[in-house]
Each structure stands twice: as structure tokens, then as C-alpha cells.
Symmetry: none
Subunit: 490 residues, 2 copies
């Protein structure tokens, strides 16, 4: 009994009476008391740290409602009619072995996605002095005041009706306009309203696309190493995948793409090697897409994070033949919590995706769509990107310096930006081995193993992210890491 | 320049500053000014018929955000860094036959979900004087101040870090607690943290569930008439469906459920007939679920909208054997735009659903999760439900009255609540026929045809929703409708 009662977490949102009564009704329903008396008012009051009067009032109201009866000098009991009900159902229950009555879930689950290998993110990364991890934004950069201002406008009485009802299967027209005019245009892309769809981020765009396009006989070419979640989504749809080889200009064209129906690429900064696809390679890829009849899915990943040159226009901007489906998001540039992404595709494709999206979850929350539209429209997104670029540039320079100084034995991919560096360890050192030693020295790094598709992939790649680590910790962290690598190498 | 500026039609939807600023950012983005100065504050003020001060404030804020620079004695110019960015342009023109190079999308689309029949919602419903439609909330009821208060708390500087980064594959622990303590407990359900998952609403919960559980050999029993979107989701997964017959206590038990693997029900108010499943039927359904080894999916739909009696505890609350998966949402009770739903299931199931959700879209936006948690925690959700119930009760009584008075020839299902009435027209009148005549008289009603599964279903059912229509229009609208029915009947 005591255990049950300890579960009442009394709060101030409703009266104690109400909360206690609610819990007692639940317990009575569950036949927790049988034919034993309920704890006395005084005992119960002590247990719950409320006044005795509160308990008495609750008990009396339960008597009025026929849940309890009061027996003189013995206390309060569950009403026999109720007990009878429970006895009956209990008897029926006794006839069955309880375990056998429960569904056999391991048989019923058609898939067990939790068995898929995942990047094990250490949730306690902030406890490490040197967290060289990837995928965290620097929260101090979030434009609090500007976001609040836009949120306040969207939530004002006169504006509310525009989003409270939701958009059924449509998007916020203001957000579509802003994304077209201020985000896509900067990537060289011009798209009509019916060629753009708002999603819940890149992950969701890719999921919607594979739901529509994947099938047992449809081959997806994926970069190797590449984005593990993309491979997981495709494998959910039973589509065969072909790992694509890369060089220092992006994926290698020619033979390896010939039998692909879709080729998934990250041209701005290849995930995870950070290699930028050259303009010549972009043009040639589109030419081959026409000749060999494949469609390119462009994840325009970290296009905003370019520190040394003007960014190359998106692959989509060179696309004259509708051969590119373009995917972008605000997760890396603004906040992954808000979950706003977008895709650009042929209007036939967008129409079907819109219907699918409607069946999957209706639409991305309309308040977030509207706040984001205001945020972009007021110029806050652009100025935020500019500020962010400056902040991260300082870190990136520090990283370059430290890697040059301390990671001499490693193979480094030169890069024009991104939030990370992709690093090949000297032969004989595995990433897992270094990861463990580094953790002991307060350094958090990521193994690249899971980003390779084939089981016999190289085991000596690591990714060093720098969005979470403080600028002044970078050099010191890399120095220690370099020492650890050198020690392992000897 | 002048032409551009003439395009700003200032309205009262937002401040002039905001509108002018937005337009200027757009013009800057389009490189409309080049290296010329922007019009002076005075000139611009004259053009737009606003005060000069307004323009000065806008210009200054654009300087702060790095869009403009002020040059002494020369005025305001676009920041040179921005102009440089615009030199990026691509003029790739290819001389190919365009059509033949484009992908053949009709061949590539693995499904065309847009071909599925849908409820045709008239987007211009508010133009009808008598919109007896379903699924719209009364926006005037939305608790603006309370929502804004919670939004302000969630967006305060000290709180921001809790959601800006997102939750990876987890949920806001505060929201889980609030849903358990304040929503599920009122439905008689006690669930552990790892038995609850936040989703983007009921549609999304059902989609995640079918993604995990459906398969060619798995039979889903669905209520008939019933929720059309559920049937569409199940058909996406190629699972066979079995239409289930109903009586005035809910779905009929026995033979028809025997071969089902899953039985999907809406016990609070059956969709669309509004019939409430009796307690005896609930208990017997669970008993049969054990004996015939099926699992019940309970969509606890409109449980808050009960006008004449205390609501019956959820089916899930009677479930001793883990035979019920429970689905609920805040879409009908608070706002469909915010897209917050939840489900309760065995922790094994929740674990796999969580992984699937992560692959589909990561998680419902974390800011909305937090705002909703605060909103429930502050007791605002409960008091909103109470207010809402009072508002709709008045409408519901008016509906009852009008239907009794004017729809004498129709078959009416008595009900304890819901936002609609399910009405059988006199023999010989089809819903489509009435729908057209009614529309000519300013009355919007919904045909029930699409809610039936079989093609030879009755064609004489309509649904009359009352959440959108004004209370004082109800009687008058029903009077006209009754007259139209009588005319068709003669």
C-alpha cells in the first residue's frame, strides 16, 4: 500500500483532494485494496503530508459516489459491489496464465529498426573538456531576441487565426515565398511555388522521397563513406544500394553510376569527408544523369558554412532537365529543434509527396512555419548566417592550425568549410582504439567506421567536429590528441 | 527604383516598419540597388506616405544587421560584402531537346497517393453563412494569452538551451510527465515513461504504428463507416483490411473479429457515428482480444467532448494484458496547427517506434513540446478544456433542438457529445444530391460516402459538424436544411 501511495506526486495544478481522489479511484479500479480497510485518515495524511481533513473529505466523497463504504470502528472499505465486480473478473483472469494473455511482440513487430547500427552519440558530451563532436550547434549563437520577436508577432491575436487551424495539406505561403526568395535564390535555384515542399528537416525529406520512389528493383547509389541515416531509410524500403566511390572532386562518374536509378550526393561538403564537388564534376554528373537516365538527389548540406571562398551554386542550379531533387534545411544553420526543412522537385513529385506527407503527419507545425517565415523575411536569418560564419571561421582556422601542428602523421582532407574535419589515422591505428584512449584524456572524437557501407571498410578514420568545443580549447585538445596518436604509432 | 517601391502595399497586418524592412531585404537580396545609394529617408517617406522617422528606424536596423552601411554625406548603401555575394550567378544554357532529357516521372513514382479518394474540404467554407462542417476548431476559443505566456517562458534565454538543440531521439521529459499526470490519468491510464511516445498527432501515431506492425499477411479490422485516413495509411502498407460492423454500443464482437490481428476502434465517440462504446462492450472486447489473440488500437478521439455525463474511462484503462495501444492528441482540443499527439504502448513497441520516428523525422519540434508541457503544467490545458466544453455544449444543445424540430424525416444517432451529428437521410435522397442543393442555399454539409469502405455502401448519410458555425446560425440553418430535405423527399 505504501508503495502505491508514494507514487502520488502532488502538485499545485489541481487541489490535493482532486489528485488524491483520482489516484484512489485508480487504485480501487485496479482492486488494490481487496477486502482490507484503506489506511486511516491520519495514516494517509502522514504519508502524503497533507492535512487529515483533506483525506477525510476525499474518503467521504468516495462514499457518496459509491466507491467506498464506512464501517464503524473499522474504517473505510471498498464497496462490496465493486469488489464483487473485481472478484468476478479476477476469477475469469485466474483461468488464464497472465503471461500467455499478453501479445507476443517479438512475433508481431514486422521490423526492429532499433537493431540498425547507429552513431552512438555520447549524451554527456559536455562533461568532456575537449568535445570534438559533430552535429551540435553553438547555442550561444542562437538569435534569441529576433526569434522571440517573430514568435510574438505570429502569436498576436490578429495573426493567430492564420496558423492555429493548421494548413491541412498546404504549407505556409509566406514561408514558401521566403525560402524561394531568400534561401534558394542564394543557391542559384529558382523554383515555382508548386515545386517546393516544407518538411521536418533533411531526414524527413529523404524519408518522404524514398517512401515515394524506392522499391525492390530501384537502385540507389550512395556515397561511401556517407550519411548512415540515409542508408537506413533506403533499407527500410528494401531498395538495393550501391556504394559509390569518391575522389577529391566528389563522386567518381562513369561506370559506377550507370545502373543507378537515383544517385544521392552532398556536393557542398561531402558527408563526412567535407570534399566540395567541383563545378566541372557537377556539370558532367548532370550530363551523365541525362544519358544514363538517373535522377540526382542533392542534399545541400552545410552550404552556408564556407570559410574561404564564395560557395559554388547548387547542383540544382545547373539542372536544365529536371534531373535534380534538391533537399535543404535550417537544422544546421539555425536550430535542429525547430525542424524545418524544404525540398525542390518536379511539381508532379511534389504533389505526391504532399499527399504522402498528409498521410504521414499532415504538415510541419504551422506556428513554426510562420515564425520561421517572419524570421527570414525580417532579414534575421541572413544576418544570423553571417554572424555564425564569422564565429565558426575562427574555430576552423584554429582547427587547421592545430591539425597542421600536431596531427602530422595523419591524412587530412583539405576543405573549404564544414563543421568538421575528416582524418585518416596512420596505418595500424584503429579509430576505436584511439577513441577509447582519447576519452580517458577528456577528448571526445567520433569513429568513422559506421559511415562506411562495406563491412571490410577501413577502420582508421575519425571525424573531428568543432561546433561544440570552445575556441580556446581547440589547440590544447589537438595537442593532446596528436601525442596520443604518436604514442600509438610508435 | 520607384517602381519597386510602389509595390509595397502597406497594410495593417504588421507594423509599417516590419513591412518596409521585409521589402527592403527582398530588394537588397535581388541586388536591386547595386552600388547606388538607397533613396534618402525623406524621399522614401514621401513615396510610402509614412513618417520619416519610420524609414530612419528601418535603415538603422538594417545597418545593425549588416545589410546596409551609412556613408557620411552620401546616405545608405548596400553593404559591399553583400554585393559581392550576388556576383554569383550561373548562365549555363544547354542546347538539348528538353523534353526527352527529363525523367519520366509517371514511370518512376512507385505510388500515386494523390489518386486516393479524399474528403473534399471546401477551403472557402467561411464564405457560407451556414458551415455545418467538421474538423475546424473555433479560433476564438484559443487561449492566446496563456499560450504566449508559455511560449515566452520557453524562449527565455535561460531556457532556450533545453530545446534549441533538439532531443535527438528522445522526447521532452517535461511533456511526457505532464501528459502522464494530467491527461492520461484523467482517462484512467497509468503508463511509465518508456511506454509513452510523443508524435505529430493521431495521424502520425497511426502511421508510425502501421509502419511497424502492418504487412501483407496482417489483417486490420477497421470500423465501417470509419476514419478514411486510417484506411489510406493501412493500404499504403499493403495490409488487408476488414470492415467491422457497428451497433449502438460500438463494434460488434464475436465472429467478425476472430481473424483480425489488429482491431482499430474509436470508443469515446465512434468516428463518424459518434456512438460511445459501452463499458460492458469494452470489457468484452478486451476479453475477446485475449482469447482470439488480437491487439486493439484505441483512438481516444474526442474524449474531452462529452456534454451529458462523466466520460467513460479509456479502453486502455481496463487493459490488464497489454492488449491495447492507445492514441490521443491535442489537435481537436487545442490546435491542429501545433501538431502534438501521443501514444501509449508496450515499451518494446515504443522503443521500435522511437527508432522509426527518428528515421522518419527525428522528433516533433522541441519548442512546441516544451511550450505544450508548460501549458499543461500551468493548468491552462484543463481550464481550456472546461471552457471549450461549455462553449460547445451551447452549440450542441442548439443542434439537438434544431434536428428534433426540422429534421423529422431523418434517422438520428443519439449521442453524448462529439463535434458533429451523423444523420441518415430519408430513403431515396442521396447525400451528394442534398449537398449540392444545400450549397446553393448557403449551407455547407459533408457527405458520408467516403467514410464507408465498401463501394456499394449507403449513399444517404451526412455529417453535420457544428464547431465552425456560429451558435445563432444553427437553428436557422437547420430549418432551411430541413425544408430542402422535405422538398426532395416529396
Amino acid at each position: 500500500m505504501v508503495d502505491f501511495l508514494m507514487n502520488i506526486e502532488l502538485n499545485n495544478d489541481s487541489t490535493y483532494q482532486q489528485q488524491i481522489r483520482e489516484k484512489l479511484v485508480e487504485l480501487i479500479e485496479q482492486d488494490s485494496f481487496g477486502d482490507k480497510p484503506l489506511p486511516s485518515g491520519r495514516k494517509m495524511a502522514q504519508l502524503l503530508k497533507v492535512s487529515r481533513n483533506t483525506i477525510v473529505l476525499v474518503y467521504e466523497s468516495l462514499v457518496d459516489e459509491g466507491y467506498l463504504i464506512a464501517r464503524k470502528r473499522s474504517g473505510f472499505f471498498v464497496h462490496p459491489d465493486l469488489s464483487l465486480e473485481h472478484t468476478l473478473s479476477n476469477t475469469v483472469q485466474m483461468l488464464h496464465d497472465k503471461a500467455s494473455r499478453q501479445p507476443n511482440w517479438s512475433k508481431r513487430l514486422q521490423k526492429t529498426p532499433s537493431d540498425l547500427p547507429t552513431l552512438n552519440k555520447d549524451q554527456n558530451w559536455f562533461n568532456y573538456p575537449y568535445p570534438f563532436i559533430y552535429g551540435h550547434i553553438d547555442i550561444n549563437n542562437f538569435p534569441v531576441c529576433q526569434w522571440r520577436e517573430c514568435s510574438r508577432i505570429a502569436e498576436s491575436k490578429g495573426k493567430l487565426h492564420e496558423w492555429v487551424e493548421g494548413f491541412i495539406d498546404m504549407d505556409d505561403p509566406q514561408l514558401i515565398t521566403q525560402i524561394r526568395q531568400q534561401i534558394l535564390s542564394k543557391r542559384g535555384i529558382s523554383a515555382k511555388n508548386d515545386e517546393v515542399l516544407i518538411t521536418l528537416g533533411t531526414q524527413n525529406s529523404l524519408f518522404l522521397l524514398t517512401s515515394l520512389l524506392a522499391e525492390k528493383s530501384v537502385i540507389f547509389g550512395v556515397e561511401n563513406p556517407g550519411y548512415a541515416s540515409l542508408r537506413q531509410i533506403i533499407s527500410l524500403c528494401d531498395s538495393p544500394m550501391k556504394p559509390l566511390e569518391l575522389d577529391n572532386e566528389g563522386i567518381i562518374l562513369g561506370e559506377q553510376l550507370k545502373d543507378c536509378n537515383y544517385v544521392c550526393v552532398t556536393p557542398s561538403h561531402q558527408y563526412p569527408t567535407t570534399v566540395t564537388m567541383s563545378i566541372d564534376r557537377r556539370k558532367a554528373l548532370l550530363e551523365q544523369a541525362c544519358n544514363d537516365n538517373f535522377v540526382v538527389i542533392e542534399d545541400d548540406y552545410e552550404s552556408e558554412v564556407n570559410f574561404i571562398e564564395a560557395p559554388i551554386p547548387a547542383l540544382k542550379s545547373y539542372d536544365q532537365d529536371g534531373r535534380v531533387i534538391y533537399v535543404g534545411s535550417l537544422s544546421k544553420s539555425l536550430s535542429p529543434g525547430i525542424r524545418i526543412g524544404y525540398l525542390v522537385a518536379d511539381k508532379k513529385v511534389v504533389k505526391e509527396l504532399r499527399t504522402l506527407r498528409n498521410l504521414h503527419y499532415r504538415h510541419p507545425p504551422s506556428n513554426n512555419q510562420r515564425i520561421t517565415a517572419l524570421f527570414i523575411g525580417q532579414g534575421y536569418y541572413d544576418s544570423h548566417i553571417r554572424r555564425m560564419r564569422r564565429t565558426y571561421e575562427a574555430k576552423w582556422i584554429e582547427m587547421q592550425l592545430g591539425i597542421d601542428l600536431y596531427l602530422k602523421n595523419c591524412k587530412i582532407h583539405s576543405t573549404s568549410g564544414s563543421f568538421c574535419f575528416w582524418i585518416g589515422l596512420p596505418n595500424g591505428i584503429t579509430s576505436k582504439e584511439l577513441l577509447n584512449v582519447a576519452a580517458e584524456h577528456g577528448i571526445l572524437i567520433e569513429s568513422g567506421d559506421i559511415l562506411f557501407m562495406q563491412p571490410d571498410a577501413p577502420k582508421n578514420y575519425i571525424r573531428l567536429g568543432f561546433s561544440a568545443i570552445q575556441t580556446d580549447k581547440i589547440l590544447k585538445g589537438l595537442k593532446i590528441l596528436g601525442k596520443l596518436i604518436d604514442d600509438l604509432y610508435q
